[in-house]
Symmetry: C2
Subunit: 270 residues, 2 copies
């Protein structure tokens, strides 16, 4: 099954564009997790979040930095969290890897074979060589960083290249590379500039967009959907859901936050 088919099925089953970001920070966990070992605490916290959001979310995105920062225990929790996500939801590993071909092959192997993810995020600074190995896996998707939502994203991404911002060049290279490969390509496009989202959607009507930056980073969910929703769209929120409350009601608060965002995003066009 192609990645886009799995995504469509997950979005139809849940009626949702929402991707929940699992960025576990034990320092922000409710007190009940504080006596457990880090890996057990992370897995238990993530499992609670997955449990209360799975009817509202078509996908989960795991930010690898939060697991790496916990060392070996973090990597154990990462593998176990992937297994705790229902099979018919999309699993995205957000590691923004990007290296020369023989190394990128290993990163793709780690994400798709070792951890069994459906998709991962890829950094384009090293060019097409760095993207290609991620596209060689049938049924998987490489979400290439195109236009990110952080303040200094513009440092390189908005440099003028032949009258257009540089990120258009990245989008072009990535989709061109995907033409000759079995896997799907997607774009990471930040939520904070809906006009850029609309511009990219106009040029790439069928490319899946993974859109971080609503919630804690300030993007407006309705504006995001208006700009991108005519093509395959995933809108991610992490901190705004995970840490909606740090009290014993954290799971209910996370569910309420996810439900509000799900409501604001509306139903996918499928």
């Amino acid at each position: 099954m192609a990645f886009t088919e799995k995504l469509r099925a997950a979005q139809t089953a849940t009626g949702s564009l929402l991707c929940v970001g699992l960025d576990p920070d034990p320092a922000r966990f409710p007190a009940k997790f504080s006596r457990a070992r880090a890996d057990d605490a992370v897995l238990a916290f993530n499992a609670s979040i997955i449990d209360v959001t799975q009817d509202l979310a078509c996908a989960y995105k795991l930010n690898l930095a939060f697991y790496e920062a916990l060392g070996l225990q973090g990597w154990r929790a990462l593998a176990e969290t992937v297994r705790a996500i229902p099979d018919d939801r999309v699993v995205i590993l957000d590691g923004k890897r990007g290296d020369i071909g023989n190394t990128a092959l290993r990163y793709a192997e780690a994400a798709f074979e070792r951890l069994g993810a459906d998709a991962c995020t890829v950094a384009p600074y090293m060019g097409r060589d760095a993207i290609r190995p991620f596209l060689q896996h049938t049924g998987r998707c490489a979400f290439v960083l195109v236009a990110t939502s952080n303040e200094s994203g513009a440092d390189l991404q908005h440099i003028d290249v032949d009258g257009k911002p540089l990120f258009h060049r990245v989008a072009h290279l990535a989709t061109e590379e995907a033409l000759t490969q079995p896997g799907d390509v997607g774009f990471v496009v930040g939520a904070t500039r809906p006009e850029l989202l609309a511009e990219l959607r106009n040029a790439y009507p069928d490319v899946p967009f993974l859109i971080p930056g609503v919630g804690a980073q300030g993007g407006d969910p309705r504006a995001v959907v208006a700009a991108s929703g005519s093509g395959p769209t995933l809108v991610n929120s992490s901190r705004g859901i995970l840490y909606a409350s740090d009290g014993p009601d954290f799971a209910n608060a996370a569910r309420a936050s996810a439900a509000a965002l799900h409501e604001a995003l509306g139903t996918p066009i499928v």
Copy 2:
């Protein structure tokens, strides 16, 4: 101690510019490692390489993809390999991480605090936010990808920006950011285009350059040193040393290959 001081001390002690890349691929290990579990095999192989090269190498670079591809056992082998490197050698984690500030903080924590590396490689596509957290650690160094040696490196890096290739913009942003931070910044510059190396060295006489691409990737060690050697320089070789032989003589062959490269690189200017 500043990173550059540790580097200078390691280069003086060994009389060497050589960095040995530890990119363990169990499929290429000699037969004697084949019955061990992956983590034990990787650690034993790496320990053999470190043992026979430590008088010839001022630094070791661990390519994280090769450890990630082995899953949890790979992460265990990574942590143990770092511990097996002598304290007075420079340890570089080559993961090319790069993400928004709150995530990059975690990657820096993973590399410098959790794993105890002296330096790591950083990808610049997300701009200064992605670099800054790695520079906040006193005594550590962030080697930012500037001009890489792979074929498609030019896709973005050589785009013309105001009459110069884009990588000059990256070099400028990275060094400017480092001015206000306690850590050191370095550049990753590929060995395959010595004229670019010379151009960057001319503009940045004191920035440490980490130079991959000699050996398997075809860069000429003498040309590299001629171009960069007037400033702090580390020249990396991985496959050419690790897999010089896959027979029982692998350690001697690795040493011979490292010694030949050490000889070709000459003595550091300190």
